[in-house]
Each structure stands twice: as structure tokens, then as C-alpha cells.
């Protein structure tokens, strides 16, 4: 019996090896693969780096790399054109110290009779050996939303409640079919915070613990060097915590310190003074008086895009007295100081990047415009989103500007970047196109996708209608839950009749040996459909559907 099974297995394997192309033939079953990886932007206005503007430019990119830029460049035959006239093209934005898509790493349970004065490092929030990438949801919806605003690259920080949550990574906001990790261990993340209830419990303990860790990392390294030449010594015990700190001490990895205020910045500078590591400070929201010192120490600086709430623009006139008036004025002054801080950094000639941590997406452009109104130049704002973070992250060779050899990360705007009416038309990330133009939503041309929901006897049924028009004929597929529980199935759409106000088609569903015939018809108003689904021999059921934005080109 057993031998028989093996025989079957063997013959299967033989069969398989005879048809190796079978697998490849299946890889593009849905026609998802893009036709070309070569594109060119034609006759466009290019802002290759902050302060430069070039008109009538063509830009060719292939496999995610910019191949040529200029007025007269050779365009290969396979290159697909992206019409660039009336568009303004900027380098893709770079976000620093960002945590979207990160999940908390699992932390070991506290043992019975736990002594909070001597916790293991992981329980104390000290796990510099954790990597952000191990706890990152690559295809999280937030990053896609940030990409819509122009972000193509981000430094991801690990989550964790304590002082050393782990190492940061660099990721692309690229196409979900690709691996979008650019580098791990980009910097080591430190913050002035604790898990609570165990040592260290406050900034007092954090500072002391840091000093001890640094000293012991040095001693650990020394022990390792001694042991490598002297095998008769006590062996070097593995210590992932100390080993994760050694690259910081050797200036191979920068320490990225999160600050919540001026005093944190000073603490960070003191730490660097002591141990001379490469320092990046993120979350900067105050500290004008510290600018000369930060400049002198060549600290990588990341300002927050999150601004305090404006409590002063719409204040009703009331009579609260002179003292209250005075206090209001001081608070307002403090508010304006926050708005003008990036401008002050720029005027002092100190490069800085921005972080969107804690920022609402809807406030992104609003806050940058507020900063521009309060002294930051538009070039300065663009630099803080492109060239400067690229420098701080040491990726200037591949990102931050638009020129030959750089990654094809771009934002295509309908107007100059920070003007009120400017809209993101398209974002190109890693050479993939993400079309956010409004015209892509109209049904006159190209594809459309509807998401529907129908009420049937068996309960709610959901799925998608994918429709494509070719030579005035609509074809496509409908997806639905397999009535026999086999997951999602698709059928071919037949007899489709689509106008701007109505939609109708039919399809068949195989259930066992039976075939159900289904007809869908109804009215379209704007982006929504409301109608009827007739299953022949069973009855009529209401259907509602919503049109999705144009799907990403794959």
C-alpha cells in the first residue's frame, strides 16, 4: 500500500519536471504584470533639487532607476509615455522616525516572584537587538495613504515602551508585489521613556542605565578581542543587548534619540559629549537657543511636523481682564515660536529633516504652509522633505534629488508644491506608478472596479466587478464567495451594457453540477450603484456597489 503511494508521488514529480513552464504560465493569470518597466515623462517642469527649476524636460526611468534627464534624450521604443506638460515634478518625499505599520514586539511574561529592581532587559524595555523589520506590516494601509501625499521612502522605528526599542530600518513605499526594504539597522533608536514599574522607571534611571550599558558594551568588546587571541580565558558569553550597542560606539550606526522638548535635546547632547557617537535627534519642537550648539556638534536633526493646536485664530472677544489677556498673549507667542522654529533652523544654515510621527495626514500640507508663513522658505521645506533627510540617512547617492542614477521616486503635482491649489496627480515610487489623478476615476476610458454588496437568502455576499473597455466593448470578471466554501471565485462578465447612468451585465456561477444564471442591472449616480440581482429560478436580491479609485498599475 505504502509503496503504491510512493509510486504515485514519484510519477507526479516526474510529470512536474516535464512541464516546468506550467508554473510560469500561471504567474500572470490575471494579467497583472505590467507591460513595461520603462517610462518617460515628457515635456515637463522638473524641480531636480530645491531651488532649481527646469522647464520642457524629459525624464526617462527604467526598472526603478532614472536613466536620463534633459530636453533631448533618446527614448527607447518600449518606454511608455507619461504626459508631463502642465505638471511639476519633485523628488519623492522622505519621512524620518516614523512608526506607521509597526506592531509592538512580544515581551516575555514576568515570572512568579518577579523582582522589579532586576528585570531581564526585554521586560525593562531594553531590547536594542530587536529589529524594526521583524515587527513591521509591510502592506499596511497607512503607508499607502502617506504615499498619496508624496512620500516614497521612510525610516521606520520599532515600537516598544522602554528606552531602547531596537534598530530602525529604511523602507520604500513601493509596489506591494516587491520587497520594499532598503536597509535594516539604519540607526539605533533611543528614547527617554520606560516601561513603568520596573528598573529603570524614570529618566533618572534611564540616564544611569545608559551609562552602565555603554561602559559594559566597551568591556564586552574588549573581552571579545582578548578571547579571540587567548582561548584559555573565560569564554565570552553572548549578550545581544551589549552587542547591539557596539556599532554605535564604533560610529558605524548612529544613535537616534527621540526628544519631546528642549531638556531632552540637552540630555541627548550630553550623552553624545560623553561617548562621541553619531547622533540624530528626532521630534524637535523647540530649542531655538540650542541651534548654534546643534550646528557645532553636527547632529542630524529631525523636526516634527506636528504643531500645537491653534487656539488663537478664532478667539471670541470677551472681557477676561488684563492678566488673562497677558497670559493669552504669552501663549500665542509660544505658539508662534513653534511655527517659526523650522525657519530659524533654516536661517542658521542648519539642515534638518521632518518626521510625520504624531501628525494627522490632513495636517501635513497645512502645517508646512504654516511653517512657510512663519519664515521657512519653500526651498527649505522641500529640502527638509528630500535632500536633507537623504543626507542624514546617508542615502544621497540614491534618493533626495532627481538626476541620472537616482531611484525613480517622484511626486507629480498639478501646481507648485506648496500652493493652495496644488494636487498630487501621480506618485512614482521605486519606478512604479500610483495614479491619483481625478480623471482616472471617470468611466469613459480604461478600467474600473466596483465593490458590491448583495443581500441574498444566505446572508450578505460581497465581491468586486472588474470591467475593462476595449473597442467600445466592456468585458470583465465578477468575484464572489464560493457558495461551496472554496474561497473567492471569479466568473466572466457577459452582455455588459454600461452608460454613465446605468450598468447591466450577466454571469454564471457553478454550484456542484448546477449552473446558476445571474443578471445584474441598476442605476449609477456618481460613484455609486444601486440595483437588482436576479438569480434565475431563485428570485431577486438588492445590490449596492461603490466605484473604487483606479487600481494601482502593477
Amino acid at each position: 500500500m505504502r509503496a503504491f503511494n510512493l509510486l504515485i508521488l514519484f510519477s507526479f514529480l516526474c510529470l512536474w519536471s516535464l512541464f516546468p513552464f506550467f508554473l510560469f504560465g500561471q504567474s500572470d493569470r490575471n494579467g497583472d504584470r505590467r507591460v513595461t518597466a520603462t517610462y518617460y515623462l515628457s515635456n515637463t517642469t522638473l524641480i531636480p533639487s530645491p531651488g532649481k527649476i527646469l522647464t520642457g524636460q524629459n525624464l526617462l526611468f527604467e526598472d526603478g532607476v532614472i536613466k536620463a534627464v534633459g530636453k533631448n534624450i533618446t527614448i527607447p521604443a518600449e518606454a511608455q509615455e507619461i504626459k508631463g506638460d502642465s505638471l511639476f515634478v519633485y523628488a519623492g518625499f522622505i519621512d524620518m522616525a516614523n512608526k506607521t505599520g509597526m506592531v509592538e514586539p512580544p515581551i516575555p511574561e514576568k515570572p512568579e516572584h518577579f523582582d522589579p529592581s532586576q528585570p531581564i532587559p526585554e521586560i525593562a524595555g531594553i531590547h536594542p537587538h530587536f529589529s524594526a523589520l521583524d515587527h513591521f506590516q509591510e502592506n499596511n494601509p497607512h503607508d499607502k495613504e502617506w504615499r498619496k501625499l508624496g512620500f516614497t521612502l521612510a525610516q521606520k522605528l520599532p515600537k516598544g515602551k522602554g528606552m531602547l526599542p531596537g534598530s530602525a530600518a529604511l523602507v520604500m513605499y513601493g509596489h506591494e508585489s516587491r520587497n520594499n526594504i532598503l536597509s535594516d539597522n539604519q540607526s539605533l533608536y533611543f528614547k527617554f521613556s520606560t516601561v513603568g514599574g520596573v528598573y529603570p522607571n524614570t529618566d533618572l534611571g534611564v540616564m544611569a542605565k545608559w551609562r552602565d550599558l555603554i561602559q559594559n558594551a566597551r568591556l564586552h568588546e574588549m573581552h571579545g578581542q582578548m578571547y579571540s587571541s587567548q582561548k584559555d580565558l573565560r569564554r565570552l558569553e553572548k549578550d545581544p543587548v551589549l552587542e547591539a550597542l557596539i556599532p554605535v560606539l564604533n560610529k558605524e550606526t548612529p544613535l537616534l534619540i527621540e526628544s519631546t522638548g528642549e531638556l531632552d535635546i540637552r540630555r541627548a547632547l550630553k550623552m553624545q559629549e560623553q561617548d562621541k557617537f553619531n547622533l540624530i535627534i528626532t521630534g524637535i519642537n523647540e530649542g531655538e537657543s540650542l541651534i548654534p550648539l546643534l550646528k557645532e556638534k553636527q547632529v542630524g536633526m529631525v523636526l516634527t511636523l506636528d504643531l500645537p493646536e491653534d487656539k488663537f485664530s478664532d478667539v471670541a472677544e470677551d472681557k477676561k481682564g488684563a492678566d488673562f489677556q497677558h497670559r493669552t498673549e504669552r501663549a500665542k507667542k509660544a505658539y508662534l515660536e513653534k511655527l517659526s522654529l523650522p525657519g530659524k533652523f533654516e536661517q542658521a544654515g542648519v539642515p534638518f529633516g521632518f518626521t510625520t510621527k504624531h501628525l494627522n495626514r490632513t495636517d501635513f500640507l497645512k502645517n508646512i504652509r504654516l511653517m512657510i508663513d512663519n519664515g521657512l522658505s519653500e526651498e527649505g521645506a522641500l529640502a527638509a522633505l528630500t535632500v536633507h533627510p537623504a543626507e542624514i540617512l546617508k542615502i544621497s547617492a540614491i534618493a533626495g534629488t532627481l538626476s541620472e542614477g537616482k531611484m525613480a521616486n517622484m511626486v507629480l503635482m498639478s501646481d507648485t508644491l506648496f500652493s493652495e491649489k496644488a494636487k498630487v496627480i501621480m506618485v512614482i515610487s521605486d519606478g512604479y506608478l500610483f495614479d491619483y489623478s481625478e480623471k482616472s476615476n471617470k468611466i469613459k476610458k480604461g478600467d474600473m472596479v466596483w465593490e458590491y454588496e448583495a443581500e441574498t437568502q444566505g446572508g450578505k455576499s460581497k465581491g468586486k466587478w472588474n470591467l475593462t473597455r476595449k473597442d467600445k466593448v466592456w468585458t470583465g470578471t465578477v468575484s464572489y464567495d464560493d457558495p461551496q466554501g472554496g474561497g473567492i471565485k471569479t466568473s466572466t462578465i457577459k452582455n455588459a451594457a454600461i452608460t454613465e447612468a446605468s450598468l447591466a451585465f450577466s454571469f454564471t456561477v457553478e454550484v456542484g453540477e448546477n449552473t446558476l444564471e445571474v443578471k445584474v442591472s441598476g442605476d449609477v449616480t456618481g460613484e455609486s450603484f444601486s440595483g437588482n440581482m436576479e438569480i434565475k429560478g431563485y428570485g431577486n436580491y438588492p445590490v449596492k456597489a461603490k466605484k473604487l479609485e483606479k487600481p494601482e498599475i502593477k
Binding site: A208, L263, P308
Partner: protein, 463 residues
């Protein structure tokens, strides 16, 4: 052309001076004329002038002439005394307790100085120019304290540090450490015996640690040394420094038995740099305190806020003083620090101390306990010009401070006292919340995590 060069030169001198000021705490010049000078160490000098240059008292006498350009003040009828020194405070600190371990000798209050705390200005308005910013009393051996000069107005925490002051550390006996660690977390210490054991174990471990490191260092740079590098511990480093006499202990204590216990432990380990704080039962062990310690820092009349603080008397400071103990009166409170001269005056009502004895409690004596008596604590030529001018004798209940100087720089002037003295303003909060009972949030702040409602109700006190 020559004038141009001259001007350039002058300009460069000015610039270099500005740079110097930016790096070091500023120092001022002042000429105070015809004051009633309470020197503390040399009695009352009537109608006397005091000349301050570059932050230092240069001359004391009558009929002095100030060099040109030095601002002068007519202090006729007013009383000039040294800036008041508070040997036990938690002012201008972002964090007070690292309550997560019975010994936290490694933590440093200098890491968490808050220069924006408006209480610094309020203390100046009460004539206090120096405070000893201490770790709280949650742990048997707490953190390393820092001595602050009230140079209010700087945004740089380091500018508040009195650089000449020696290192000090907080110890705590009795109910606070036993409650936090023993009852709160079921760790040692759970009793007064446990507190002693924790301290002794700490010292013993420090001695072992020192030996390991001494052996390592003695083995030199021999590439074939048969040792591996020892583990570094700033906690044990600090305890070693205490044993070697580099750090003054300031110990939170109430009961005579525990005070005497720690005196004995210190004797055993050869430690003589110790000051006891609160010391409500100090009057019972006054001769021992006089003989073996750097003194006692007490409240004038504050007690009965928990069980171990019932046996107390307002005569404590006077009894200690008469027994030859270096005694000071401290605030342990951002409120009390504004009128320590009242607290000192209470010792005249309870114990009949002389003016000099009473004023010493808040000037030269706390300076001695902090190891800074060479620099401050009295009005003497060569000392730092931390001064406060009162309209009446400071031991009078009617006295009001008029001006306060630190290093000859005036930081408070009642004539010129704007209502809003905040350095930093929250842009989202026009009216900041006001916390009542600020005097109760100090010694045990930041340990709330360890206490449930049960603990707080049972022990509704914080010292």
C-alpha cells in the same frame, strides 16, 4: 584708520566677553552702601558698605568708594544677609524618585534639572539663593543630589549647578523605604533591620567590587593577562566613592534608634561625611550627632504626618545647636523655601537662640553640611556674592526681602517684580492647572506607581 583698528579691537574684546558669559554663569558687580550687614560669622556690622566685583565680595567696611561704572544701592536702614541656603529641597527637578530599586546610588539629579521651574524665582523672592536638589526618600540608598545656585533665567540646566559643591547622596531610613519596597513589592527592606541590611550589603558589595577592579587595573596592559574585564556598575562605583570619603551622605531619618544605627554603620565603615535630614528625634541623640556627623538638617515645627514622626518638638533645632551639632533648617517644600527666615525665627521663640545662631541655621550651617562653606554662607571678603537685602531684620515677622543677588547678579528686585515670571509657556494652555498642597508632593514624588488607593489612604503623607 587708527581709530578704525581701535574700534575693531574694542569690538573683538566685547565679542569675546559675550562668548565667555555664554559659556559660564554670569557674574556681576554691585556696591551696597550703608547697610546693616548681618555677616553671620562676624556679627552685625552697622552702616557698612559691601563691594562686589565679578561675583565676589571684595571689600566690607565704612566709607568705601566704588570704582566707576559699578552700580550702587543705598541700603540705609536695610538689612543685608548672605543668601539663604536650603539643605533639603526638591526644587527645579523633573523627576524626584527612581523608586524601582532599594539602592539607586547610580542615578544623578543633575540629569533632571528643570531650569524652567518658576519655583526658583519664588525662592529667590524669599531670599533663598542655593538649594540642595535631592533625590526622594523611597530608597534606602537613593540618588546623587546636586547643589543648585538659583540663577533663574537660564535655559541651560548646567548653568544652575554650583560647580564648587562636592558630591552628595541621599539615604533614607524608616517607613518610606520599607513601605515602597517591603510592603509595596515584597522586597527587602521590610523593616528597619532590613534597611540596615540593605545598606551594609551595599557597602560590602562595593568593597568586593573595588577589589575586583583594583586587581584588574593592577594587572596592567599585559596582553597575556589571565583576567577578563570586570563588569562595570556605576551603582557600586558610587558606593565605593562614599566609602572613600568623596561623597557626603544626606540621610532622611526620624527616629533616634535608626539615626544611631546609621552612625554606628558609618563608624564601622570609616565614613564621617554624613548629615541627617528631618531628624525629628535628633534631640535624643544630640551628643552623638555632634561627635560623629556633619550635623542635622531639621524642620522648625513640622511633624505628626505619619507614625514615625510623632515624637517631635519645636525645640529640636535649639537643643541640637546647644549640643554643638551643626544644625540647619530646611524646607523640603517649594512653598516653605520662600520664607525660611520665618522658620529660623521660630527657634528664638522655642529655645531662645541668638540672632546669629538663628540665622546660621539657614546660612553658614547648611553651607557646611553641603561642603560649600568656603564659598558661601556668610558675608566675608573673598566669598561669592550671594546676598539678600531685607527692609527689616530678617528674623522679624514683618521683614520682606527686597533684592536678591547670586554671584553679584540681581535676580530678584521687589521694585521690579513682574507678575508673570515664567520662562517657558505652554502654547496650548493659557491658564495652567494649579496644584494645591504643593508642599506635599516632594519626597515621595514619582513613586505613585507603586501605590494603590489603599496605600495612599493609609499613608496620606509624602515626607
Amino acid at each position: 584708520m587708527q581709530t578704525k583698528i581701535l574700534l575693531l579691537g574694542l569690538w573683538m574684546i566685547c565679542c569675546s566677553k559675550v562668548v565667555c558669559q555664554a559659556q559660564n554663569a554670569s557674574k556681576g558687580d554691585i556696591f551696597i552702601k550703608n547697610a546693616q550687614v548681618l555677616t553671620i560669622t562676624n556679627g552685625l556690622l552697622e552702616n557698612t558698605d559691601v563691594l562686589v566685583q565679578d561675583g565676589i565680595i571684595r571689600q566690607i567696611g565704612s566709607g568705601l568708594r566704588a570704582p566707576d561704572g559699578i552700580p550702587s544701592i543705598d541700603a540705609t536702614g536695610k538689612y543685608l544677609m548672605p543668601g539663604i541656603i536650603d539643605a533639603h529641597s526638591h526644587l527645579a527637578l523633573e523627576v524626584i524618585n527612581e523608586a524601582s530599586s532599594p539602592i539607586t546610588a547610580e542615578v544623578k539629579m543633575e540629569d533632571v534639572i528643570d531650569p524652567f521651574d518658576v519655583s526658583i524665582y519664588r525662592a529667590l523672592a524669599g531670599g533663598t539663593t542655593i538649594s540642595h536638589a535631592m533625590h526622594g526618600s523611597a530608597n534606602a540608598i537613593g540618588g546623587q543630589n546636586i547643589t543648585l545656585k538659583h540663577r533663574y533665567g537660564t535655559r541651560d540646566p548646567d548653568q544652575l549647578i554650583m560647580k564648587e559643591a562636592p558630591r552628595t547622596i541621599k539615604f533614607a531610613l524608616g517607613e518610606n523605604p520599607t513601605r515602597v519596597h517591603g510592603r509595596g513589592k515584597n522586597l527587602q527592606p521590610r523593616s528597619r533591620m532590613g534597611v540596615e541590611a540593605v545598606i551594609r550589603n551595599g557597602f560590602e558589595e562595593a568593597l568586593q567590587y573595588k577589589k575586583v577592579w583594583d586587581d584588574w587595573n593592577a594587572s596592567g596592559n599585559d596582553s597575556k593577562k589571565q583576567q577578563i574585564p570586570p563588569v562595570y556598575s556605576s551603582r557600586l562605583e558610587t558606593l565605593v566613592a562614599i566609602l572613600e570619603g568623596e561623597i557626603i551622605i544626606h540621610c532622611h531619618s526620624y527616629r533616634a534608634d535608626e539615626i544611631y544605627m546609621l552612625i554606628q554603620v558609618c563608624q564601622e565603615y570609616g565614613i564621617d561625611k554624613i548629615v541627617f535630614s528631618h531628624v525629628n528625634e535628633g534631640f535624643k541623640v544630640a551628643p552623638e550627632l555632634a561627635k560623629y556627623t556633619m550635623g542635622a538638617s531639621v524642620f522648625a515645627d513640622w511633624w505628626a504626618y505619619k507614625f514615625e514622626v510623632y515624637y517631635s518638638t519645636a525645640y529640636n533645632a535649639a537643643i541640637l545647636t546647644k549640643n554643638g551639632v551643626v544644625t540647619s533648617i530646611n524646607s523640603d517644600s517649594d512653598e516653605l523655601i520662600r520664607h525660611l527666615y520665618h522658620e529660623a525665627a521660630k527657634t528664638q521663640r522655642y529655645g531662645g537662640l541668638t540672632d546669629d545662631e538663628a540665622l546660621a541655621l539657614i546660612t553658614i550651617n547648611p553651607a557646611k553640611q553641603l561642603g560649600i562653606a568656603e564659598q558661601v554662607g556668610s558675608i566675608e571678603v573673598g566669598k561669592q556674592a550671594d546676598l539678600v537685602l531685607f527692609d527689616k531684620h530678617p528674623l522679624s515677622i514683618y521683614a520682606i526681602p527686597q533684592m536678591t543677588w547670586v554671584d553679584g547678579v540681581k535676580y530678584f528686585d521687589r521694585e521690579n517684580d513682574a507678575a508673570d515670571q515664567r520662562l517657558k509657556v505652554d502654547p496650548e494652555e493659557t491658564l495652567e492647572p494649579i496644584f494645591l498642597h504643593t508642599e506635599h508632593h516632594n519626597c515621595m514624588r514619582d513613586v505613585d506607581f507603586y501605590f494603590t488607593g489603599f496605600g495612599r489612604n493609609l499613608f496620606g503623607h509624602r515626607h
